[in-house]
């Protein structure tokens, strides 16, 4: 079945891997070039636009590759009626389904994971020209382990929806519609709480800190009300006369990898749930009528 699955999906798999390999090559070249430039302004001049486009591409890539490979995996087979052929051979349903998922999904998920790790390394010399630290959207989403985990969810989701709705295009559209808000929701609502934030009343933040909360407190540390609009002098001076300081909660940069592991784990767990749903569907929902 492995060969059959490979032969059926090889075009999509190879195209997906080509895109990943192309991006990896560009990243590597850029890293060595950027590293050789000592003037920060020159890096910005040369790679400022590149950084913006790379972010756009890498944000879109997991869901694009996921639906491009996952959507047709079962959707097209059912549209063409060839699942009738596959399911009436001697191999069982489960093997048919599992082989297709593994053969089509594994290469691109592994490829995207490697691409994310490569990007953490390749982006190091560009860090100075990026806004915010590694924990901030969109850098967090495109470096490290998350790229692969997002791809895993987009792929399994579109493959399973294809199995249920029996239509490639619908599988792709539904996946995109579900995936985009999910990424936004996780980034804004869950990620700030992956660990208890460090609080500080110091004006100077450590490099790469991700500020997740901000409030005003008095000298004793109790919440205080302060309205910058009511100030007649400069705001720092105004705060000082009222005895109010700004207290921020932040996630320090060194939590990057543990946050990556948590978020990747979350998406892999969701993908696993989707796979379980698919296993159920292949037995109970995949009927001819």
């Amino acid at each position: 079945m492995t060969w059959v699955a490979w032969r059926q999906q090889r075009l999509q798999i190879l195209l997906g891997l080509c895109v990943i390999a192309g991006l990896a090559a560009v990243m590597t070249v850029v890293r060595f070039d950027a590293q050789s430039i000592t003037d920060e302004r020159l890096v910005d001049e040369r790679y400022g636009t590149y950084v913006n486009y790379l972010r756009l591409v890498l944000l879109a890539l997991p869901v694009l590759l996921g639906v491009f490979i996952g959507g047709p995996l079962f959707g097209r087979e059912i549209e063409h009626g060839t699942h009738v052929f596959s399911l009436t051979q001697s191999i069982g349903r489960t093997r048919w389904w599992a082989s297709k998922i593994v053969v089509a999904g594994l290469p691109v998920i592994v490829g995207m994971t490697l691409l994310g790790l490569l990007n953490s390394w390749a982006s190091a010399p560009l860090r100075a020209v990026m806004f915010g630290g590694r924990l901030v959207t969109p850098t967090f989403e495109i470096e490290g382990l998350t790229l692969g985990a997002y791809t895993a969810l987009a792929f399994t989701l579109s493959a399973t929806i294809g199995l249920l709705v029996r239509n490639t295009l619908a599988a792709m559209v539904i996946t995109v519609v579900a995936y985009v808000p999910l990424i936004g929701l996780v980034g804004n609502a869950l990620r700030p709480a992956y660990a208890v934030p460090v609080t500080s009343t110091d004006d100077k933040m450590p490099a790469g800190a991700w500020i997740v909360s901000s409030s005003y407190v008095d000298a004793a540390g109790n919440p205080a009300s302060f309205s910058p609009a009511a100030c007649t002098t400069g705001i720092p001076e105004c705060m000082r006369t009222q005895g109010v300081v700004r207290r921020v909660g932040f996630q320090p940069d060194d939590r990057f990898w543990s946050f990556q592991a948590i978020e990747a784990g979350l998406f892999v767990a969701l993908a696993a749930l989707v796979v379980v749903a698919g296993a159920w569907a292949v037995h109970h929902r995949l009927r001819m009528a």
């Binding site: 079945m1 492995t2 060969w3 059959v4 032969r7 059926q8 063409h80 009626g81 060839t82 699942h83 009738v84 052929f85 596959s86 399911l87 009436t88 051979q89 001697s90 191999i91 069982g92 349903r93 093997r95 037995h283 009927r287 001819m288 009528a289």
Partner: protein, 281 residues
């Protein structure tokens, strides 16, 4: 060796829009060529899909070569050729045969290749470029390559030209003669099955209307032609009158006073199919 290849008890398939099969009880003897006859929508495809495990029945039982079709793939000794001969369009014939080999332990590659060669289908051609007849022959070769004990062909001759119909039928018959396998062949064109099949299963509106050995069924029925004044015998299936003459098909032995003739398979099947339609109307 089982003597019954396929048997069902009160097999029922209910769809949201109505009945697919309704309380079907039948037996197909092993080593025979059985015809599954019925109009479009009679439940022929439903029956085959349930037997292959593609679909699960609402109630009742079916056994294929003595086994209940389960979750674990189709019965290894059963081969099925679907109505639209589903094959991977982007594959070449050679790759399609390789897929057959990969998906079926006990695959007979030499045999499958021989069947393709006999059909004059080029091995390098993409499935999508083949004619209907060639595609059917390739699909047949893959079904046969599994060396099945029972092969189910769902409308194998539909959308084929008359010459291709004949060639495909010859190919099937030759292999049956050689291997002694059991065949269930569905069609709504009865003329294609006449002289080919020796067992009959007639479905209409999801119900079994007639079943049995073709020879026996033919000798048990008569086409009676006579004056419309004559008294009808017992066992009338269908009676039609034209002018003063009546033509009756009845399950009976010779009836005195009538002109008695044994029906052809087509006459027999059509009479049963028409009679059910009248009841429904």
């Amino acid at each position: 060796m089982t003597t019954i290849a396929l048997d069902a008890t009160a097999l029922t398939m209910r769809y949201r829009r109505g009945w697919g099969l309704r309380d079907c009880t039948f037996e197909l003897p092993a080593g025979r060529i059985s015809a599954l006859i019925g109009p479009n929508g009679a439940g022929k495809s439903t029956l085959m899909r349930i037997a292959t495990g593609l679909q699960r029945q609402t109630s009742g039982e079916i056994r294929v070569l003595g086994q209940v079709p389960g979750k674990h793939g189709a019965n290894r000794r059963l081969a099925f050729l679907g109505q639209d001969k589903p094959l991977f369009k982007a594959f070449t014939v050679e790759e399609m045969l390789r897929a057959g080999a990969k998906l079926n332990p006990g695959w007979d590659d030499q045999y499958a290749q021989r069947l393709v060669r006999e059909a004059d289908v080029p091995f390098g051609a993409k499935i999508g470029t083949l004619s209907g007849g060639q595609r059917t022959r390739v699909a047949l070769a893959i079904a046969m390559g599994r060396r099945p004990e029972l092969v189910m062909l769902d409308e194998p001759l539909a959308d084929l030209d008359p010459i291709a119909r004949q060639e495909v039928m010859h190919a099937v018959l030759a292999e049956v003669a050689e291997t002694g396998m059991t065949v269930l062949l569905s069609s709504h064109v009865i003329a294609d099955l006449d002289g080919v099949c020796d067992h009959l299963l007639l479905l209409a509106d999801g119900q079994v209307r007639l079943q049995g050995d073709v020879e026996d069924l033919l000798t048990q029925h008569r086409v009676l032609v006579g004056s419309r004044e004559l008294v009808l015998p017992d066992g009338v299936v269908e009676a039609r009158t034209t002018g003063r003459q009546a033509t009756v098909l009845a399950r009976t032995s010779d009836v005195p006073g009538w002109d008695n003739n044994e029906p052809s398979l087509e006459e027999l099947a059509l009479a049963y199919l028409r009679s059910t339609r009248k009841v429904a109307a």
